[in-house]
């Protein structure tokens, strides 16, 4: 065979590694939707090396080659204003150690907002790297009264422009093709801008002034875009209500109420299903294995612990679904704007509100989301107080104690007392978070409150795929935790509770109560009892509290393990009943009372019992010893508040003559 007929071999480096593509664009330009449309299911979320900014990575195959895509955080210009944007710029410029620069840059531009999007686009084109522009949301142009001459736009910019509709996956094949070709074509240059701005010959790297850039863009717009006046946007009419001085906050509170209602009532059938599944598994194991150590380990230890936490999966999924809905529909930015007025007196920014709200779900992503706050001290203050917002891991604790000790009666014919108690816990945490923020901003983290400059994206129908994906990422994280940390702690606790084996005088096993008291776990509990006694707790609660310093929900699984209730049909209700029925072995009175439960819930409202949060705070406050100091301060101040609150409630209640229990 002659050499001329053989296909040209690929250059060695592209042959061995996939083509690297980076998606960049303004926030709210539909970048993540495009990322989903491009890569489908083949994606994962990780961190950029050394920092904790989400790095969404995916892959697709085109023409037999693998292309790896990274979705960079949204940005408005190459002069970064927030840590998030700084990472994106570093990746683009290949400055981030451990992350190679992309082979092809795909600029995602919102067609409806082309002029503003071209600002960033021209900055990136000036880098002189292989680039493709994905002109997104072209389907909305007609409605917006716009027409874009794409061919002319390609001429003007000297780069391939592919019209796409990411939400419907339109134009993806052409985009994939253009990306593969761009890698082999000469990179674009934007000498035209420099010429037009009279800045030709300016030293390389010297950025054009914003007004010069916009002037050039205005010329491009004039030659490529035709507009006709359009009627008032629906978005504006909605905003007139949503951003209203009075209606705005009312709507916001209303939405929050719906969210909590959904979490507590919609989740119940699903939770019951999981509950039944756990019980069936336990019954299945019990049917196969003879009574003994192994059966006890599997049923009481592993299933009892993990099962009692798994039932909260539906609530966590619903919470993240709501947060995703608010975010993707465009409402979150409005909430930040509406709430800015109320956050300002506390020294916080409207943007702090989003991390605080996310804190209701989980402090870990919430702390990560503070990266959108540009000012370091406002960001630090937000990080320090976010864990006071009652996260989903506290739900198991609240739910158990409320079910056990708050009567299921209706107040005022409308609200259930249990629901009100739950709401009260959330309010307590929220008020504490806001108060603590005000204190931090007036002491350790004092500075002027910075400006609020925020884009309000047009309202849009969230994409189910993007939404489903983000919920799944969170659920997977929770499942992984339940499968690893909580599983390990459950088994360890089972071991500590089961050994050393106590034997009666006749050498026969003693009743479970006595066994527990004499086990290693019981001894630890007795040892710390003096510290929790002033709060009205016995050693069993003490043990569960100590175990839950790893993660709050472990409190419930530990109580579940201690009382070995997994094999009962309905573990949560069964555990609640066991707690109510528990008697002090000496006095014979109820061991736990509503007063103790209130104090305990307050303790969990304030205490930072979550290793993941401590780790995250350490990373996000600078790492090293500096981060360690902040993390230690956060842990300590919250623990002090927790102990003080539990003490005040218990002692105050006793003084008022309420039941003190054991």
């Amino acid at each position: 065979m002659s050499a001329g007929l053989r296909p040209q071999p690929l250059p060695p480096e592209t042959a061995v590694r996939p083509l690297r593509v980076a998606l960049v664009g303004n926030p709210n330009c539909g970048k993540s939707t495009l990322f989903n449309a491009l890569t489908g299911r083949r994606q994962r979320v990780a961190n950029f090396p050394g920092v904790t900014v989400d790095r969404a990575e995916g892959e697709y195959r085109h023409d037999g080659a693998t292309v790896s895509v990274v979705d960079l955080p949204g940005m408005y210009s190459l002069a970064p204003e927030s840590p998030d944007e700084a990472i994106a710029v570093d990746v683009l410029l290949g400055r981030l150690p451990g992350a190679e620069p992309p082979d092809v840059i795909v600029i995602v531009a919102d067609a409806e907002n082309l002029e503003r999007n071209l600002f960033l686009a021209t900055e990136i084109l000036e880098l002189g790297r292989p680039t493709v522009i994905a002109l997104n949301r072209v389907d909305r142009l007609a409605h917006a009264g716009m027409q874009i001459d794409v061919v002319e736009l390609i001429h003007e910019l000297g780069v391939v422009v592919i019209p796409v509709v990411a939400t419907r996956g339109e134009g993806m094949d052409r985009l994939r093709h253009a990306v593969s070709r761009a890698a082999t074509l000469p990179a674009p240059t934007l000498d035209a801008i420099r010429a037009a701005a009279g800045a030709q010959g300016a030293p390389a790297g010297a950025a054009l002034a914003a007004d010069q850039r916009y002037r050039w863009i205005a010329g491009v717009m004039e030659r490529t875009v035709t507009r006709r006046p359009r009627p008032a946007r629906l978005s504006d009419r909605v905003d007139a209500v949503v951003l209203h001085r009075v209606w705005g906050p009312i709507i916001f509170v209303g939405l929050m109420l719906v969210m909590f209602q959904a979490m507590f009532s919609w989740a119940r059938p699903l939770a019951d299903g999981i509950q039944a599944l756990v019980a069936a598994t336990a019954a299945g194991i019990a049917a196969v294995l003879p009574p003994g150590e192994l059966r006890s380990l599997l049923v009481d230890g592993a299933l009892g612990g993990v099962g009692s936490v798994l039932v909260f999966l539906p609530q966590i999924a619903i919470l993240f679904l709501f947060i995703g809905l608010l975010e993707d529909s465009g409402y979150m930015a409005r909430a930040a704007f509406v709430m800015d007025r109320y956050m300002r007196p506390l020294g916080l920014h409207g943007k702090s509100f989003i991390p605080l709200i996310s804190g209701y779900a989980c402090a870990v992503p919430a702390i990560m989301s503070t990266r959108t706050i540009q000012h370091p001290k406002e960001r630090m203050a937000t990080i320090m107080v976010v864990p006071l917002m009652s996260c989903s891991a506290r739900l198991p604790v609240y739910t158990l104690l409320v079910a056990a000790f708050v009567p299921a009666i209706t107040v005022g014919g409308l609200f259930s007392l249990q629901g009100l108690t739950m709401l009260g816990m959330y309010l307590l945490g929220t008020v504490a978070a806001l108060g603590a923020a005000a204190v931090f901003r007036r002491t350790l983290l004092r500075s002027e409150t910075r400006a609020l400059i925020i884009e309000l994206p047009p309202y849009s129908l969230p994409s189910l795929r993007v939404l489903g994906n983000s919920v799944w990422q969170r659920v997977r994280l929770f499942l992984r935790r339940a499968g690893t940390v909580i599983f390990a702690i459950s088994v360890l606790l089972w071991g500590l509770a089961a050994y050393p084996r106590a034997r009666g005088a006749d050498g026969r096993p003693v009743p479970p109560e006595q066994q527990l008291s004499q086990s290693a776990l019981g001894r630890i509990g007795h040892a710390i009892e003096p510290a929790v006694r002033p709060l009205g707790y016995d050693w069993k609660i003490g043990v569960s509290m100590v175990a839950s310093f790893a993660a709050r929900e472990v409190f419930v699984s530990t109580m579940g393990t201690i009382y070995g209730v997994a094999d009962a049909g309905d573990s949560r209700r069964a555990l609640a009943q066991r707690l109510r029925a528990e008697r002090n072995p000496v006095t014979g009175r109820a061991a736990y009372t509503p007063l103790i439960a209130m104090g305990l819930m307050a303790f969990y409202v304030f205490a930072l019992m979550c290793t993941s949060t401590v780790t995250m705070t350490h990373k996000e406050t600078g790492g090293g010893w500096r981060g360690a100091l902040w993390a230690a301060l956060q842990f300590t101040y919250m623990l002090v508040m927790a102990y003080a609150a539990a003490f005040a409630i218990y002692r105050g209640g006793l003084l008022l003559g309420l039941g003190g229990g054991a």
């Binding site: 210009s77 503003r116 704007f337 309000l456």
Partner: protein
């Protein structure tokens, strides 16, 4: 002129705008009425805020429409909506766009 009408009709305090109009001069964005179309003249805020505003399309010479002023200022910048708090709005100097 539509702008002239808006300027006269929408302004809450009757004394100041007439002088502002008769002698077209720079005024802070914060004191513009709803529906007003303004030309950005300059900034009196820190450099990083100016950078952000420019990246978002609010640069010297840009034309912006005031959509709402009831809480902070809501702007229409070439079709996109930009929300500013009152302090930033006071630091942006504009003049009526002819």
């Amino acid at each position: 002129m539509a702008v002239l009408k808006l300027w006269n009709r929408r302004t809450k305090t009757p004394s100041s705008p007439s002088t502002a109009f008769s002698r077209p001069s720079d005024c802070p964005l914060a004191s513009c009425p709803i529906g007003f179309c303004a030309l950005v003249v300059g900034f009196a805020c820190p450099a990083h805020e100016v950078r952000r505003l420019r990246a978002l399309g609010v640069f010297e010479g840009a034309r912006v429409n005031i959509v709402d002023t009831r809480s902070g200022v809501l702007l229409d910048v070439r079709g996109s909506r930009l929300a500013l708090d009152a302090a930033v709005a006071r630091a942006i100097l504009v003049r009526p766009a002819a």
